[in-house]
């Protein structure tokens, strides 16, 4: 039983072929190309054709018939695949309007239900929103939603407030151009389900889900999420760029890629009884899932990305949050220019050292926001960390990938590191319900690249003083001992699948690993090996650019084994911030005025304004 999974990201389209080898599901083929929603094609199905051709080149199997449709089920000549799934994270997120009664009850549950797909909540209406009937009607009509998510009331509870909201919504949606009317999902008081269908008959398509709050103590969002997936698929069909054709090609339509991160992190946490973190910082959206055997917390941010949403990311984190990760002085303009250019050309690869650090500064800042939104502390611990997305996986060096993964969230403790360089997580999430055995087997058969295990000491380390003494024991081999100094990373060779026992002794005051000064752990190797991280946590706390220039290139060199790329001394000179242009010049005032003299006046006026603006910025910076 073969599985063909294609994921359409904002920048890349990836195809994976999963098939049984000796009765066990394995990843047997992979291909990647650029997503083709831009000039000159503007149709993602062209990218589908390309990526399947590339997959044919690498696997020797054909996947499409002459009219371009994917062959499914698999034919006796091994062309096609038994299951064909499509996931997408690219493109504009679904614009959702939430309608409820109480912001802290039904609306909160609605927002939680919305949080596992690519949704941008554009408006929220509830009893305490301070709007009258007319205000709500205008709010709906100017929000241009793709989906309206109505909740409110417990099952069998008071109907009148919900009916009032339904009345506003029916009238509002009847005023929207028919071609652009949103899908309505109702997940409120179950008794009113039939009323809802009647109210919206001829006005909008309605999907009825189970009440997200059947009673005050119970929250039930599974059914609503299922309906949201259907709405996502409908929206995918409507949004152009060939998604409608794509949805018709895949039997289960187009599913959100993000679901895979939640599903797979939860699965691994439950199966291995451990804490798993999965992180993907993409071009247009970012996902963080934190799973334990008991529950899974996650954050999907459609406003944080390193390409399409780089500007939104910078707006969210602020320039100083990026600059604190740079080993050189950078002006506000340099950071902003880099970000603006990334938003214009999202697939751009940083090709010089400054750009690379800027890119990774943005990555670390984005991950920081994601971590905080899921309640991760400054130095979170986990048993396994899964890294998805091109920025982690396109470094060309597993060591660099591991370093970025450790630093992005400031990971502490002892953890295994995995690189999802194929985009397996999205695919497995899409097939999990129908083929759970495939998920289990692909993961066990090494679907993710095993980078190795990291041991990270927490606390403030003393530079170049011993912080860790590690004894590595492997059966049939002499023990090996390593001493790691503060502010350094040491990589020990330990191959893929190789297991070892570690005796860890923490040296120096105020330091610990997993809250202990001495511990024994079993570790497993990988393409990087065993990473002994003596840098302390939190990372780069209150450091200057000069200090970072000393540390960061060294860390890259120590973990990759590449030569150290020193930061030129002139990059550390303090830079003058360029003056901000005057924002108060009236655009028409200059028209028809006497030219030269007018400009001089403007220049004089702007000098005054600039001075005050600069003072204000400096004041802010200096706290």
């Amino acid at each position: 039983m073969s599985i063909l999974a294609v994921d359409f990201g904002s920048v890349h389209t990836r195809a994976l072929l999963i098939d049984q080898v000796n009765g066990v599901y394995q990843l047997v083929g992979f291909a990647r190309t650029r997503t083709t929603d831009d000039f000159p094609v503007q149709n993602v199905t062209v990218g589908l054709g390309r990526v399947l051709n590339l997959l044919t080149d690498t696997s020797g199997r054909n996947f499409t018939n002459p009219d371009g449709r994917v062959i499914s089920p698999e034919l006796p000549d091994r062309s096609g695949a038994d299951t064909f799934v499509v996931t997408a994270s690219g493109g504009r997120p679904l614009r959702a309007l939430v309608v409820g009664l109480m912001p802290s009850i039904s609306v909160a549950s609605a927002l939680k239900a919305l949080s596992n797909t690519y949704v941008s909540v554009v408006e929220t209406l509830h009893l305490a929103d301070g709007r009258d009937f007319e205000g709500r009607l205008n709010a709906v009509l100017h929000a241009y939603p793709d989906v309206v998510f109505i909740v409110g009331g417990t099952d069998g509870g008071a109907a009148a407030p919900v009916l009032d909201m339904l009345h506003v919504m029916r009238l509002s949606l009847s005023l929207v151009d028919r071609r652009r009317r949103p899908t309505v999902i109702y997940a409120g008081n179950a008794v009113l389900g039939q009323d809802v269908i009647t109210q919206f008959e001829g006005v909008a398509e309605v999907l009825i889900a189970e009440n997200v709050r059947p009673d005050m103590e119970t929250e039930s969002i599974g059914s609503a999420r299922s309906m949201l997936s259907r709405a996502f698929n409908r929206y995918a069909e409507r949004r152009g760029y060939g998604f409608a054709e794509l949805a018709s090609l895949a039997p289960s339509g187009v599913m959100p890629s993000a679901r895979g991160y939640v599903t797979i992190a939860s699965y691994l946490a439950q199966a291995k009884r451990e804490r798993v973190i999965a992180l993907d910082v993409g071009s247009g959206a970012s996902i963080l899932a934190v799973a334990t055997p008991k529950d899974t917390d996650f954050s999907i941010r459609t406003d944080l990305g390193l390409g399409h949403n780089a500007q939104s990311l910078l707006d969210t984190v602020g320039i100083d949050e990026v600059r604190r990760w740079l080993p050189f002085e950078a002006t506000r303009s340099e950071v902003r220019n880099y970000v603006a250019n990334k938003a214009l050309r999202p697939s751009l690869t940083p090709s010089n050292l400054r750009d690379l650090y800027l890119e990774h500064g943005l990555l670390r800042a984005a991950a920081g926001v994601m971590g905080r939104s899921t309640g991760l502390g400054g130095a979170p611990e986990a048993d396994a960390l899964i890294l998805g997305g091109a920025v982690f996986n396109d470094t060309g060096s597993p060591g660099y990938t591991a370093l970025l993964g450790l630093d992005a969230l400031g990971m502490a403790g002892v953890m295994r590191l995995y690189s999802d360089s194929y985009g397996l997580t999205a695919a497995l999430g899409a097939v999990a319900a129908a083929r759970s055995e495939a998920v289990v087997q692909v993961l066990e058969e090494g679907g993710y690249a095993e980078l190795g295990t990291a041991v990270c000491v927490s606390g403030r380390v003393r530079p170049d003083k011993p912080v860790l003494r590690v004894t590595l024991e492997q059966p049939g081999r002499p023990n090996r001992e390593f001493t790691v100094n503060g502010g350094h990373i040491q990589v020990v060779s330990l191959g893929i699948g190789e297991r070892a026992k570690l005796k860890i002794r923490v040296l120096g005051g105020g330091l610990e690993v997993k809250g202990k000064r001495s511990l024994k752990v079993e570790v497993i190797g990988g393409v990087v090996g065993l990473i002994l991280d003596g840098r302390g946590r939190p990372l780069l706390h209150h450091t200057s650019a000069t200090q970072r220039a000393e540390l960061m290139p060294r860390w890259v060199s120590e973990i990759t084994g590449d030569e150290k790329r020193d930061i030129p001394a002139d990059w550390l000179k303090a830079l003058d911030e360029p003056k901000l242009p005057s924002e108060s010049r009236p655009k028409r005032a200059r028209r028809g005025a006497r030219r030269g003299s007018n400009r001089q006046k403007n220049a004089a006026a702007s000098a005054v304004e600039l001075e005050s603006a600069d003072v204000s910025l400096d004041d802010l910076r200096n706290g």
């Binding site: 190309t33 083709t36 929603d37 000039f39 000159p40 094609v41 390309r50 590339l54 080149d57 504009r92 009607l137 205008n138 009509l141 100017h142 241009y144 009238l171 009847s174 005023l175 151009d177 652009r180 760029y241 247009g284 399409h308 500007q311 303009s333 902003r336 220019n337 603006a340 250019n341 938003a343 214009l344 050309r345 697939s347 751009l348 690869t349 940083p350 090709s351 010089n352 050292l353 750009d355 690379l356 470094t395 060309g396 060096s397 660099y400 890259v556 590449d562 360029p578 242009p581 005057s582 924002e583 010049r585 655009k587 200059r590 028209r591 030269g596 007018n598 400009r599 403007n602 702007s606």
Partner: protein, 359 residues
Amino acid sequence: MSVFYPEQRPAHKLAVIQREVILPAEASGVVTVVNDQRVDVRDVVARGLVPGKFMVIDAKAFFKLKTAAEVDELLLVTVDDEVDELKPLAGQTSGRGKRLFSPVTGRVASIADGLIVVEQLNAVIDLEAGLRGRVTEVKAGRGALIEATGTQIQGVWGNGGRAIAVVVNEGQNPIESATVDVMGSRFSTSVVVLRRPITEDILSAAADQNVAGLVAPSMSVELADLAHVQPYAVMLIEGFGDMRLNRAVAQVFQDLEGVQITLDAAQPQVWDARRPEAVMNVQPKGSDVPTRPSPNLTLRAGMGVRVVGGDHSGQLGSVVNLPNELVLLDNGLRVPCALVELGGDQRIFAPLTNLEVIG
């Protein structure tokens, strides 16, 4: 190396231009052209309206009626009627008794459940074709795809402005020091092409001289807000920062000196494929064959490219070869690259993602 499909950003003297002309996302409208129709530069392709404010008037409550149906008997307007402010919406036809007046000038959007909804009217958007060509696809309610032959130069950023005007290359005399008299300057009412980055003084001088548009390689992002409020169109060819105009694009604009072009300085939106561009109708002469956009163009040795990003941003070169292995860049990344020969026999390894085909 496996097949790589490079980014394309045309700067063609003679190309088949496929131009999507659509209303703003928030506007609803009607398309006024049909498939295969020939259109001229100023022809209206679609008319649209951005929704105005909706006023909800409770007629049932106003007349103190028991049922919504009773309102129907008093109505003096129907749905889609345009009404002036203080025009009666409901009341006795005799003109006696209580009357309900429209609070605004607008359109009756809905009459239901005893409520009359009036939408304030906004300005109509007349969407012009922008070039002479043929409609190849109508996008219902949104606009049309127009195909034409001519010159096409795509940029990367625009301030949302639009201009139809003749091209004037800045040349040796900077716009900031242009001689200005009561008739303006030599740049007035033109699309001015700069080979250097835009500065605040240039923006100011362009406004003073009443230019129709500015085309430039780059500018600091700090000037973006200021560029947005200018009364003329601004298009960047290379990006934000301090890049100069590449010679291929400069030559195309040089050849267009004195020629009328359409400058559509569309502002890039996060999830919109529309790009800013300058276009001009040109009829092929003799054996000239216009270049068609090639959806399946793959990167090959010998191909002319523009490098984007990094130290060589904006430079033109040609692909020497495409190594099969990842290449270690000076910054430590190992990525798929092409060996590119720039001017002066300089050769660099450039990431494949940082190459654009322009012509």
